[in-house]
């Protein structure tokens, strides 16, 4: 005669239910915020890519990267980094200030481990020296700056030249197909599932897609870009090179 139902299987107390509901609600809100952010970024990226042609951006980015690499003044490097951080952000690329700070700090810290130069301070076992610090800062911002210049200049629709370019384009097409694979991959039958995936993707691509034609251009690729985009790009490139010679001019 089991009279008492054990506590555990009874309906959860109202307090617990409220907490669970609150948690679910906050999770839903977080997911919603992420979605909104992603939508905003896609919109920005679409506008950016409609304004600038991908190959223009790639060439400009390459030139700017070179000027950036040769830049001697660390202060100017930091300025360029900040500029492109926000430039890449407004172009719809995902930027994470936390990651950037972490990576930069890591680089600076690693450089501080080998003391060089005038002693500035002692933090526990670590001696902070001027040259090591400046070197670390320079390297850190060079590293990060290049990343953001890249993010602003390498865009989705970029078509690489030549046969190699068409192979890369095919690879991206296959990539899209693999991502969209409808079947599921289960852990227990992992190998045969993956095998099936590969076979299906390969066979489904067997019919269309001639390799040589760089077909399937990005939707906005054929659209004519405004002349302003070229002017802006040219200005940015000139700006980067001007900053390159600025330190020697000022001396």
């Amino acid at each position: 005669m089991t009279e008492q139902t054990p506590r555990a299987s009874a309906t959860p107390s109202p307090a617990k239910q409220k907490r669970a509901a609150a948690k679910a609600a906050s999770r839903a809100r977080k997911a919603e915020r992420k979605e909104k952010a992603r939508a905003k970024r896609s919109a920005r990226a679409a506008r950016y890519d409609a304004f600038f042609e991908p190959s223009l951006l790639a060439i400009a980015g390459l030139l700017i990267s070179i000027a950036f690499l040769f830049q001697k003044a660390t202060l100017l490097k930091i300025f360029i980094f900040i500029f492109f951080y926000f430039f890449a952000k407004s172009s719809g690329k995902k930027t994470s200030i936390i990651t950037t700070i972490l990576v930069a700090s890591g680089i600076i810290l690693a450089n501080l481990l080998v003391p060089v130069g005038r002693v500035m301070a002692k933090w526990g076992p670590l001696t902070i020296t001027e040259d090591a610090l400046m070197g670390g800062i320079d390297k850190a911002f060079t590293f990060e700056g290049l990343i953001y210049i890249s993010k602003a200049s390498i865009r989705q629709g970029l078509k690489l030249p030549g046969r190699f370019g068409s192979i890369v384009a095919s690879a991206f097409r296959y990539y899209d197909q693999i991502i969209e694979y409808r079947g599921r991959v289960h852990a227990s039958t992992f190998f045969s599932d993956v095998d099936e995936l590969m076979l299906k993707v390969w066979d489904s691509a067997a019919e269309p897609q001639p390799l040589t034609a760089a077909s399937g251009p990005a939707p906005a690729a054929s659209a004519k870009r405004s002349a302003w985009s070229y002017i802006v790009a040219a200005l940015l490139v000139c700006g980067a090179y001007f900053l390159l010679v600025l330190p020697s001019l000022l001396q």
């Binding site: 003391p115 005038r118 002693v119 076992p125 001696t127 020296t129």
Partner: protein, 128 residues
């Protein structure tokens, strides 16, 4: 299709794994071991303290009350090349190259020594 093919480990696989483990152990010892501190050149002056690795070539200008003392680090040794002091005994003192050694220009308040590593407890400098 439920037969699982046997994975056969071959001879060289074991050789490679063994070699890899050795390499890892070796790198652990060299990198994390104590005996590997790089010697550093420490310079104290009126203008502040400086640290430089002994192995890189450098020519430094250290400011003192009398003027600039030129310190040259090269080929794993340090020496005072020039100094504004009257006797210039420091210049004549020659080069030092081992931890514990020191050379100084007293009038210009420049003191140079070589130490094991600043990021660990340093052994008391011995004077020879």
């Amino acid at each position: 299709m439920s037969e699982k093919p046997k994975i056969r480990i071959k001879v060289l696989d074991c050789v490679i794994i063994a070699a890899a483990i050795l390499a890892i152990a070796f790198s652990c010892l060299t990198v994390y071991g104590k005996g590997n501190a790089e010697p550093e050149v420490k310079i104290s002056s009126q203008g502040g303290d400086y640290i430089y690795p002994l192995k890189d070539e450098r020519r430094l200008q250290i400011e003192g009350p009398l003027g600039v003392t030129v310190v040259h680090i090269h080929d794993g040794s340090v020496q005072i090349e020039d100094s504004p002091c009257p006797n210039r005994t420091c210049v004549a003192a020659g080069a030092i190259s081992r931890p514990g050694q020191w050379v100084a220009c007293m009038p210009n308040q420049v003191f140079i020594s070589i130490e094991g590593s600043s990021n660990e407890k340093s052994v008391d400098a011995g004077v020879y």
